[in-house]
């Protein structure tokens, strides 16, 4: 949904928060771009940001700590062909900005005439989430009560639960992008999240379970109008307990190459690591990705379609507009097994002579933007999940995962299961301990032999790290059967 009215409101709000207190108007912005757009500089932008973050955490039955952080600043970027200069200031004021423009443009050849500024225009953006301030959406005592309620839910679920750790976090962020080509874009991005970790103990053995979720909402996602915890929040507590109890029964994991069935939802981290990073434009422009130069080639089995979609309502990885002022998009990465394209920011799109895809993201004003994922998932297939399990003689069924990592150059990726079962003769038989799975990105999807009809997105807990920058992302997939993935257990 595109909505000009709310886009205008967001821009007005961001101007009030970020520009007006410093008396920065269009004339001052033009003055700054006049200084930036000199010599060989062919593009520049200013990224104004205000963010307010809070976190509350409970352990041993009580909310012991809380924190509140405010961050505010502006990043100044100058681009000359493949060169980028960044300088920033945590003070939004004209003198600091003038100093930063001088530092940022030092990458370029100097001299020549300043380019004339274009007329200001408002960027096209989406309205995928409301411009909320989650931090202010609930009284502090109700935040504490919510965590206490989650704790009781977890303890009530099973007497073997010995420790419950729960945390609640919220971010209210306003960003304003001003570009040398006259584009002004703003976004107001709420983000909330709950995490629950439990430790269960039985017969001298201790195991953990972790669950959580959230998205671009305020706290009403977790708490109803009467201040009572919603099922969304309580479900995380029970899910964490369930996982811990399963792990109390787990045997050693197998070691070696075998058929692996991945459950729906968060196991989509497979796609994020195995192919997502390898399809980011920067690595492909530089030719450092195992996928470089392979558009149009078959990189996955027939039936495999993978998209990166920043346009889903309220999702953790969604954006109304990216951090360079490009409207967010749904980009088909792989269609029916064939590689279709890469995820791009402005610079890499320009250098590769393709259109930007709304994937230009940065952790904050103090970081350079680069191509990043939003919500990355595989579309559903036709198989019933039960039929997929029944098709496997001996293999691993992995349904929950921790983190993953990839070497985009040789394509090797890992992701670590935290809940898994053996499949024997078409049946799920017993739980096994978590283990790291390792594979080769460019060929793992060619081994997909069955795709479930049960596409699910994750619950909203993903954070992606690249070159030291963290951004919130989403993943998803249906149940998948992969013929031949190396499972890193201890039982050889």
């Amino acid at each position: 949904m595109k909505d000009d009215t709310t886009a205008r409101d967001r821009l007005a709000l961001a101007r009030r928060t970020l520009l007006e207190p410093a008396n920065l108007g269009e004339r001052e912005l033009e003055q700054l771009f006049g200084r930036l757009m000199q010599g060989s500089v062919d593009y520049a932008d200013l990224y104004f940001q205000y963010s307010r973050h809070e976190a509350w955490s409970l352990e041993e039955g009580i909310v012991k700590s809380g924190s509140h952080n405010i961050e505010c600043g502006v990043g100044v970027r100058a681009v000359a062909a493949e060169k980028q200069g960044l300088a920033y200031s945590d003070e939004i004021a004209l003198p600091a900005l003038i100093e930063a423009t001088g530092a940022a443009r030092a990458i370029a050849r100097q001299g020549g005439k300043a380019k004339t500024a274009a007329a200001w225009r408002q960027a096209e953006t989406r309205s995928l989430y409301a411009p909320l301030d989650p931090v202010a959406s609930l009284a502090d005592d109700a935040k504490v009560r919510l965590l206490e309620r989650i704790e009781r839910e977890a303890r009530a679920a099973d007497p073997r639960v010995k420790q419950v750790m729960a945390s609640l976090a919220a971010v209210h962020e306003q960003v304003l992008v001003a570009r040398a080509d006259g584009l002004l874009a703003a976004d107001v991005r709420p983000l909330v999240r709950i995490n629950v970790t439990v430790i269960a103990e039985a017969n001298g053995r201790r195991e953990t379970g972790t669950a959580g979720g959230g998205g671009r909402y305020d706290y009403s996602y977790f708490v109803d109008a009467r201040g009572q915890a919603r099922e969304t929040a309580l479900g995380y507590a029970r899910e964490a307990v369930r996982q811990a109890l399963v792990n109390l029964e787990a045997d050693e994991a197998p070691a070696g190459s075998m058929t692996v069935v991945l459950g729906p939802g968060w196991p989509g981290i497979l796609l994020h690591e195995a192919i997502g990073h390898g399809l980011e434009g920067d690595f492909n422009r530089k030719g450092t990705s195992a996928f470089a130069g392979r558009v149009g080639e078959r990189v996955a089995a027939r039936g495999v379609t993978v998209v990166d979609d920043g346009t889903l309502n309220d999702r953790r990885g969604s954006l109304n507009v990216d951090d360079e002022g490009t409207i967010s998009q749904r980009t088909v990465l792989i269609e029916d097994g064939v590689l279709k394209g890469y995820m791009q920011d402005l610079m890499n799109a320009r250098l590769m002579k393709v259109a930007p895809t709304g994937n230009g993201r940065r952790e904050s004003y103090a970081h350079l933007p680069m191509p990043r994922m939003t919500n990355t998932y595989m579309l559903a297939g036709s198989h019933d999940p039960g039929e997929i399990i029944a098709s496997v003689d001996r293999g691993l069924y992995a349904v929950n995962f921790g983190g993953g990592q990839v070497d985009i150059t040789n394509g090797k990726f890992v992701f670590s299961a935290s809940e898994a079962y053996l499949i024997e003769n078409g049946k799920i038989t017993r739980p096994v301990k978590g283990a790291t799975l390792i594979g080769n990105g460019p060929d793992v999807l060619t081994r997909v032999s069955m795709i479930g009809n049960d596409l699910k997105l994750d619950s909203g807990v993903g954070t992606c790290g690249k070159e030291g920058q963290s951004v919130p992302v989403g993943v998803g997939q249906p149940t998948l059967r992969i013929d031949g993935l190396t499972v890193g257990g201890t039982r050889g």
């Binding site: 930063a100 504490v144 195992a290 978590g434």
Partner: protein
């Protein structure tokens, strides 16, 4: 390219008085707002990071960050807040935000500042601050020379992620309402190269970096570049291994990660939550009997040196593990009170934790291993801190008769950390001193390697 000054002309040390004033203001405001105890820290850092790729400048990033963090205690309740705005009004608002939070957190009898008698009173010069004002041209020249040395080593080095150089300096002032006020300034300079080797078998990337508090102690650009290129080249034509059990030798740059798993397990926070695989292990045999692991907070010029920790407590040189036996935990005041033990001066972490060598260099260790896996890269996060279960992606080399025979990749190594610790066979003298965890290459008797 014009010769622009890299850092602003003033160094961060000149901001010391301003930061001290801010900390005092925050403490005063906390008292006014009704806090019974308070602590505050203010920091300022600045620097530059620059990358040259294929001979051309690719990115130049100027950094300058500051922040103030306040924790207040109202009785036994606590709250924290932080800001990047140093105005008096912002300091006041930050203190009030922390006090507001402390109205809603629970009474916690262990909460509070460190005990006054534990606070540091000696502040020796640890040789941590060595500013460098090289100018942009010299930075570009060094990054370019490092990358060029890598690109020219072998024609199979055909692509690059660049040569990078950075120089940063920072100062931090910590104070609390016991009257403690400590300050520490430090510098960090580094030079790195990441390049790609390619042949008919495919592409392999690897890197090398040098990092030091003193710029004149950095490895030469040529050395950094050649090492990076050599590391990428030796990975070409890597194979998978069959699934097996065998000895595993962790090359020094990845071996320090094993020390980090030890630290996580003996941290007070993991122990009082009973979320560790080393519960109640004080005085117990945790490692092979030859193992000594000790903290060296007063090592001049080292990465992790500090005379006081994040709550002002004096640091102490000590053995964490001696003769394989765990001698102490890693505690701050809070976790110490939870466990009925004194703080060990480790609020914020350990200080230059060092594994003493009992063997020669990597070559000697390969010979000692005879046949097994040399691991040079680990990927993924497959460590369970509660059970000690360990399973990570790995790449490296297969070793036979003490010699490297071929590179391997797309394998995992797995075991259980308590078994792995007891299975430490040898630690090399090739200690990687770039980080805060200092270990040479480590040989472990047996792990499960999963592959084909």
């Amino acid at each position: 390219m014009s010769s622009t000054a890299v850092a602003t002309s003033t160094d961060v040390k000149s901001s010391r008085a301003q930061l001290e004033k801010l900390v005092r203001l925050a403490l005063d405001e906390s008292k006014t707002a009704g806090a019974t105890q308070a602590e505050a820290s203010a920091n300022l850092s600045q620097g530059i990071s620059l990358t040259v790729r294929l001979g051309e400048v690719e990115t130049v990033e100027h950094t300058r960050d500051k922040g103030l963090g306040v924790t207040v205690y109202v009785g036994r309740r606590s709250g924290s807040a932080s800001t990047t705005d140093f105005s008096e009004q912002a300091v006041r608002e930050t203190v009030l935000a922390a006090c507001t939070i402390a109205r809603f957190t629970a009474e916690d009898e262990c909460a509070g500042l460190a005990d006054p008698d534990r606070l540091a009173s000696q502040f020796p010069d640890l040789d941590l601050y060595h500013a460098w004002q090289p100018g942009m041209d010299m930075l570009i020249e060094r990054a370019r020379a490092a990358e060029a040395a890598a690109l020219s080593l072998d024609k199979r080095i055909g692509n690059s992620e660049g040569g990078s150089i950075s120089s940063h300096e920072g100062i931090e002032v910590y104070g609390n309402s016991h009257g403690f006020l400590g300050r520490q300034a430090g510098t960090r300079h580094s030079l790195s190269v990441s390049v790609i080797a390619q042949d008919s078998s495919g592409m392999q990337r690897d890197y090398w970096y040098s990092s030091d508090r003193r710029a004149d102690r950095l490895e030469s650009p040529e050395s950094v570049g050649r090492t990076a290129a050599g590391r990428a080249l030796r990975r070409l034509s890597a194979r998978k291994l069959g699934t097996r059990q065998c000895p595993v030798l962790f090359e020094a740059p990845v071996a320090a990660s094993l020390l980090s798993h030890l630290v996580s397990a003996v941290r007070g926070g993991s122990l009082y939550r009973r979320a560790s695989f080393l519960l109640d292990s004080l005085g117990q045999s945790v490692f092979a009997p030859w193992v000594r692991i000790h903290e060296q907070p007063y090592l001049p010029g080292a990465t992790g040196s500090a005379s006081f920790d994040a709550e002002g407590v004096a640091t102490k040189a000590r053995d964490l593990v001696r003769d394989g036996i765990l001698q102490g935990y890693v505690l701050d005041s809070y976790s110490g009170r939870k466990l009925g033990l004194p703080t060990t001066g480790n609020a914020g972490g350990v200080h230059n934790l060092t594994l003493e060598a009992n063997a020669g260099n990597l070559k000697d260790l390969c010979r000692q291993m005879g046949q097994g896996l040399l691991v040079t890269e680990l990927i993924g996060f497959g460590i369970n801190g509660v059970t000690g279960d360990y399973s990570r992606g790995a790449a490296g080399f297969w070793v036979e008769n003490g010699e490297v025979v071929y590179p391997v990749e797309e394998i995992t190594i797995a075991g259980n950390l308590p078994d792995m610790f007891r299975g430490f066979v040898a630690a090399g003298s090739d200690v990687d001193t770039r980080g805060n965890l200092r270990a040479g290459s480590i040989l472990i008797d047996r792990m499960t390697v999963a592959g084909e």
